[in-house]
Every structure is written in C-alpha cells, then in structure tokens.
C-alpha cells in the first residue's frame, strides 16, 4: 500500500522538481535564511514575542512537553471549553496534546482528513504530511463506516463528503481551535499556516479561542522570507507550487470583524531544542518538516512510519528523536540507516542528515549493544567453524538434524526465517551417485 501511495507521490514530486530546477538558487537562499535564524535564535524569539504581544497575542513559553500540555489544558479549562478542534501539527503530536486534552475531560477532534482517520483507528500518523498513507481505501472506508454506524461506499468522493459533513458539525460546536505553526515572522508578528483541506482555516476562524503550538525553531526573521520558504516547503512536501491555503495570521479578530477568534495564544515549545544550538546538530533546527527525506529514504519506503515507533519518522526522525529525548528515545534509530545520504541530497534546506545519523551512532549510547555483541560472538564462532572441513561437516549435519531450529537463536528466528537445509548434502549425494 505504502509503495503505491509513494509511487503516486513520486510522480507529483518529479513534476515539482522540474519547476524547482528553474530556481536553482532557492535552496541556497532558504538554507541561508534558516541558518541566519539559528545564529541568534533567542534574539529572534524575543523579537517575535514583542511583535506578537503588540498585536494582542498572548505568548506562553514552555520548556518541556509537560509544560506545554499544562498551558493548553489550563487555558481550555479556564474557559470552560468542552470541544477542541485540531489542525494537523507535528508539534502537538510531539507533546501528545490530544490525549492530554482527553484526559482532562475535553473532546479533542483531529480535523485533517488523514489525521481524523488515524485518530478513529486509534493509531498514530505514519507520515508527517499524509498521516494515513499506510491505509488503503477499503481500510479507510471500514474506519469511517464504523464511526458513521452505516455502510459507506469505497469511493473517494463519498468518503470525503461524509467526513466533510461530520467535521463541519465539530467546527461549529468547538470552543477552541488548536493548530501548529509553519513559520512565525519576527518582524510583523505573523503566524504562517500551510494547509490544503481548509481545516486549518476553520480552526482559526470559527472557535472563540485559537491556540497555536510553535516549536521555537519555526521563527523566521522577516515575513518576506516566507516568499522563499513557502514554495520550497510545498514543492518538497506534496509537489504543489504552493499549498492550497496559506493563512497569515497577525493577531486576533479586530474591532468590527464578524469572525476570527477573540483570543489568540501562542505556545513557544522548546523541548531541548535550544540545547542543540552550538552543537554539531544545530542545523537540525533548520528543518521545515516537508517530509522530502522520508519519501526518498530506502528504509522508510520499506518499513513505513510506524516501524520507527516515534512521532518523527524517516531520516529527520532518526536525528530528531534521540536529540529531543536526550537519548532516552530512538537511540537505536541512527543504526537503522543505509547511510546512502539520499536524505541529505533531498533536503531543501541542506541539512546534512546522513552525517548527523553517523555522528549520532558515536554520541548516543546504543541500547542494543548487548545484542550486537552477541551477534558478533555468533559470527566469530561461525567463521571459525566453517574454516575447517570437519567443522563445516559437523555444523551442517547438525543443521539438517535440527531442521533449522537452532537453540539460542529464538530472538532472531521469531521474526525471521532461517533457510531450510536440504535433506541430503551435496557431498553425500555425490558420494552416493559415484560410489
């Protein structure tokens, strides 16, 4: 399934690649803008906060995911909110905000179609741009039909129409809209949100309160920089010259306006990001979450996003997950790489992902070092044994007798198959036929 979806995506991205080739210097310009931001991240954040506050926006600084969850939950509770509509955001996945809201007794509804399907299925997104990329249309029908309580056709239009009606009701009912942020311009105090479906627009138009969760590296120095970064983000994410909707929000609803939120809150989320400044991993904060590295990664293409068992998957996930957790999560991810560096080539802001994956193998202790040592011992013994004819004959005879059930290898064979040995060895057959 993933293969077919990625094939559809490949076709789009190829066309986009051709149009991006018309601006060969755009990657350089974007990379420069992102690095300029990182040179003085704290300074730009202060400027952003100043600009936002001047526009009547409430700014909250959260150093840990728990802090961010507490800010949002307390805001919701203080306003007596019952229903929250969410627009797809990796930052809210990172802090597991949906579950925190549910635990606090609120109803939290994902409104991006793919994310909604994943939420109903009780799963996690498998791709940062298309969360339900691992599901086939009949599987999606089953998930939606169960929620609908009626039968639905395996038809893209029909399923979309059903979800449209269902989620329209949620938008009208919701007290709070929660979104991420793609870019936040320090000079004008503007939040830039990129969406295709329009759910992000609903979340920032109808509910009385809008809360945006913004990882600190999303700040850009100038709103004009978005003119370079936006087309680069969307061509690399979905192959679109520009996403269908780009919303630039500069403060809450103003006097006389008939829609838009009365209150706008922005939560700056650190979660160890600022500790990366000045280290060899600083450039990881240049990431614009386009997903280009996932789509080209030979590992991601074969194992899909869930195999990473982390919010961020693919090459960028291999780097970011151990860094954001201080090595307690995803420490084995840097080893799940072919080091082919296709990710480094694909990255629109030129992050040397392949180099970072390699460096992390040295910097983060490998949680599977015991298993690795056992494997090394096995191969050493095996190499010794097969270096002599008698050792070879003995072990292959044992293999035939045990029919591949080798004691001590269960950890390996529980998920893989050993080759089945032939009933009779070639030597035995030769000896018999030429006797």
């Amino acid at each position: 399934m993933l293969q077919r979806a990625l094939h559809n995506l490949d076709r789009r991205l190829r066309t986009a690649g051709e149009s991006a080739a018309a601006h060969p210097d755009w990657k350089d310009r974007a990379a420069a803008i992102r690095r300029e931001t990182l040179l003085d991240l704290d300074g730009w954040l202060d400027r952003l906060e100043h600009s936002l506050v001047a526009r009547g926006v409430h700014v909250h600084r959260a150093s840990t995911p728990a802090d961010a969850r507490r800010v949002v939950v307390e805001l919701a509770q203080a306003r007596g909110a019952r229903t929250v509509v969410k627009s797809k955001s990796m930052a809210t996945e990172e802090i597991d905000l949906g579950n925190a809201l549910e635990d606090a007794g609120l109803t939290s509804v994902e409104t991006d179609l793919g994310e909604y399907i994943v939420q109903l299925a009780g799963e996690r997104p498998s791709h940062m741009i298309t969360p339900a990329i691992h599901k086939t249309l009949p599987q999606i029908r089953d998930v939606l039909a169960k929620e609908a309580g009626t039968d639905l056709a395996v038809d893209r239009e029909a399923l979309t129409a059903w979800a449209r009606d269902r989620l329209r009701g949620e938008f009208l009912r919701a007290d709070i809209g929660i979104t991420g942020v793609n870019f936040a311009a320090a000079d004008t105090g503007t939040l830039v949100l990129v969406t295709n479906e329009g759910n992000g627009r609903f979340c920032t138009t109808l509910p009385r309160v809008h809360i945006a969760v913004m990882p600190v590296e999303k700040v850009i120095p100038r709103l004009a920089d978005a003119g370079i970064l936006l087309p680069l983000l969307t061509t690399h994410a979905t192959g679109q010259a520009l996403s269908n909707y780009v919303t630039m929000i500069s403060g809450p609803r103003r006097a006389g306006e008939v829609d838009g939120p009365d209150e706008l809150h922005v939560v700056f989320l650190d979660n160890r990001r600022r500790t990366l400044l000045g280290t060899r991993y600083e450039e990881m904060l240049a990431c614009i979450r386009c997903g280009a590295c996932l789509n080209v990664c030979p590992v991601y293409r074969n194992v899909s996003g869930h195999a990473y068992d982390s919010v961020y998957s693919g090459p960028m996930g291999k780097v970011l997950t151990p860094l954001l957790s201080g090595g307690t999560e995803g420490a084995d991810l840097p080893y799940g790489s072919t080091l082919c560096h296709a990710c480094s080539d694909a990255c629109p802001v030129k992050i040397p992902l392949g180099d970072m994956i390699l460096a992390l193998r040295a910097d983060v202790p490998d949680p599977h070092s015991g298993a690795r040592r056992r494997r090394r011992i096995f191969w050493t013994v095996w190499a010794r044994a097969w270096s002599t004819p008698s050792g070879y004959r003995l072990t292959t005879a044992l293999g035939r007798v045990s029919r591949g059930r080798v004691p001590g290898l269960q950890a390996w064979t529980s998920t893989r198959e050993l080759p089945r040995p032939a009933r009779e060895s070639f030597r035995d057959r030769w000896a018999k036929e030429h006797a």
Partner: protein
C-alpha cells in the same frame, strides 16, 4: 503574466473568466449566482451595484453587516469576495480579513467566487511578500490556490474536503 496566472489557477481546478470590464463582470457573477437561493457577499467586491443586481434576480443576499450573518452563513451556497492581491507564480489569490470582508465567506459556502482586479496581480510570491510585509497586516491574510483538496486517500487528489468544492475567479480589467 495574466496567462501564467490563469493557467496556474486552471491547473489547480479553478474556473477563470475574463479579463472583462465591470459591467461584464457583474453580469457574469449575477448569472453564476442566480441559480442559488442564498448568497453571501463581502463588501470588498469591486463591482458596484452587485448586491442590487443579485436581489433583482431573486437571489437572497447575506452581507457581513447583517445581524443574521453568523447564524445564516452555513446555509449560503455561494460566497462572493474581492481580493487584496494576486500572484502569477505560484498562482494564488490573497484575501484580507476586514469588517466588511469576513474570513468565512471564502470558506463555508460550497462555491467561492472571487473578483480579482488585473491591476492587483503581481508576478511572484517572493515579490508580493516583500510588499505585503511592508504594509499593514490584516488580522488574517488568506492565500488561496483553488478548491479545498486532500491527498490523504492513497495520495490521489480529492476536492472539497472542508472548504469550497469550486473556486471561480472573475478577472476585472
């Protein structure tokens, strides 16, 4: 530049008519909207007497000043707006929120008709953003490339997820 703009919008499943003069544009919009019962119309549409024209054709028109706006908008089948600016590459229109120009007119109804002045068309987004950032920002500036869409179902585009199923651009010169 207009050709690039029109081609880009059509590639994104918009319908485009014009460039045409004010009278032709008004007639086009009235004709298009007259098949519907309730139409929401922003105050920033650059077509004088449009609302009267619609009402003469028996179409009920909801305007942002109407006290019933919020509660009746969900029933509107068409939303008519102007645009602050537009760019040819990548092709998109930009709508600025204002008291007479709510954000939801281009979002809630199934059909969005946008009247764009050719004079407001700029060559690229990168150029446009420099000008936008230098001016006073509205509370919301919404860039629209076409009908609401998703690629979430097996990476194949499906239109009309949450926002309008159709976006119709009328170019005014």
């Amino acid at each position: 530049m207009i050709d690039v703009f029109v081609a880009g919008l059509r590639a994104n499943s918009c319908t485009v008519s014009g460039p045409m003069n004010t009278d032709e544009a008004r007639a086009t919009v009235v004709e298009r909207a007259s098949a519907h019962l309730l139409v929401a119309c922003n105050d920033d549409v650059p077509l004088p007497a449009l609302v009267d024209g619609l009402r003469q054709r028996g179409v009920e028109v909801l305007t942002p000043g109407d006290p019933a706006w919020a509660e009746r908008l969900a029933d509107a089948e068409v939303g008519i707006t102007g645009a602050r600016l537009a760019v040819a590459q990548p092709s998109a229109i930009a709508l600025a929120a204002a008291p007479g120009a709510p954000r939801s007119t281009s979002l809630v109804p199934s059909v969005h008709i946008c009247v764009v002045r050719v004079d407001d068309l700029l060559p690229t987004l990168a150029d446009a953003m420099i000008g936008v950032a230098a001016g006073e920002m509205p509370s919301a500036l919404t860039w629209i490339g076409g009908p609401s869409r998703t690629g979430d179902l097996e990476m194949i585009t499906t239109l009309g997820v949450h926002g309008p199923r159709a976006v119709e651009i009328v170019l005014l010169d």
